[in-house]
């Protein structure tokens, strides 16, 4: 069998940079009634944000194809704006920030 080539110089940083970081999904949801809602919201919103970013990526890929009409492009763009708006609303509702969802885009980014 052909020997696979898998070479990385900093797997941990690469993983942190490109993947959905584990800290954004709590290992356990606290049973404390006052914080259980926030913990669940954090978990659910993190997953919704991941899906939103996948949709955005797919929309940009469709743009690359070059066969979308101006109407399609407008419609896709509006859908992405609306999705972001809804995410912001939900974050406000549950008092969560991008940092809570581990979405900050610092030098070592934490999502995608």
């Amino acid at each position: 069998m052909t020997k696979p080539v898998i070479i990385t110089n900093d797997e941990q940083r690469l993983r942190e940079s490109m993947s959905f970081a584990e800290p954004s999904i709590p290992e356990r949801i606290s049973a404390d009634s006052e914080i259980v809602e926030n913990g669940l919201a954090k978990l659910v919103l993190s997953i919704i944000e991941l899906v939103r970013r996948l949709l955005e990526k797919q929309a940009l890929r469709r743009m690359d194809g070059g066969n979308l009409s101006e109407e399609d492009i407008e419609s896709l763009g509006r859908a992405l704006m609306k999705l972001e708006e809804k995410m912001d609303e939900m974050k406000r509702t549950f008092g969560l920030s991008d940092e809570d969802l581990n979405l900050s885009l610092g030098p070592i980014r934490t999502i995608e």
């Binding site: 052909t2 080539v5 990385t8 110089n9 940079s17 492009i73 763009g77």
Partner: protein, 210 residues
């Protein structure tokens, strides 16, 4: 039963008995049969498809089919593949002894446009598109890649899929995989500060896109 497609191959003997060979427009689709109620997200199925994919690639290069295409009858698969068949056949003949490799490099990222600055959806998505395309990696790292890895490749293409990474996809002769590994090890020593992952071999995917 339904079948999960894996790839499109030039010859039947490239597939059997590792997987089922389904004739499609002069080529052969590799597939594995699963129960109708089997979920495509089942872990065991994913592992089975991945290992079959690797075993098939070890035999001969094929055009990868994105995971998730399932069909019940050969005619259904034929209808889906026929429009691409002539192009795939030419690619498979040209690249039979070549495989793809990919070098994924973490990028510092570019500024994300703020949706509040836009009234038009089209303008917003174009700004997102531009931000993605502005993603770049350090010039010195790119130069090292261009001198160590690109010369081994028959073809190469820098690909931007998001704002967090830039990817070099390349086509390489199978026999040069050990040289690719050496180049990767050398890059590891000379560029420790830019996180990267070099992996190979892969079936035709980036170079099978239109």
């Amino acid at each position: 039963m339904k079948s999960i497609a894996i790839g499109v191959h030039l010859r039947r003997e490239d597939i059997e008995p590792l997987a089922d060979a389904v004739p499609v427009a002069g080529l052969y689709l590799s597939a594995i049969a699963v129960a109708d109620d089997q979920s495509l997200s089942d872990r065991d199925l994913l592992v089975r498809v991945t290992s079959t994919r690797a075993a098939l690639l070890d035999r001969a290069t094929f055009v990868a089919i994105r995971y998730g295409f399932s069909f019940r009858a050969g005619a259904e698969a034929e209808a889906k593949c026929a429009p691409q068949a002539a192009r795939w056949k030419a690619l498979l003949e040209e690249h039979r002894h070549r495989v793809e490799f990919t070098l994924k490099v973490a990028a510092p990222g570019s500024a994300r446009p703020d949706r509040h600055d836009f009234k038009s959806g089209a303008d917003y998505i174009r700004a997102l598109h531009d931000a993605r395309d502005a993603t770049s990696i350090p010039a010195s790292f790119r130069e090292k890649v261009e001198s160590a890895i690109v010369p081994i490749a028959v073809r190469h293409r820098w690909v931007r899929r998001d704002t967090t990474s830039v990817e070099l996809a390349g086509l390489i002769e199978r026999e040069l995989l050990p040289r690719l590994a050496e180049a990767g090890e050398s890059l590891k020593m000379t560029a420790p500060d830019v996180p990267f992952l070099l992996s190979a071999p892969w079936p035709l995917e980036v170079f099978a896109e239109e």
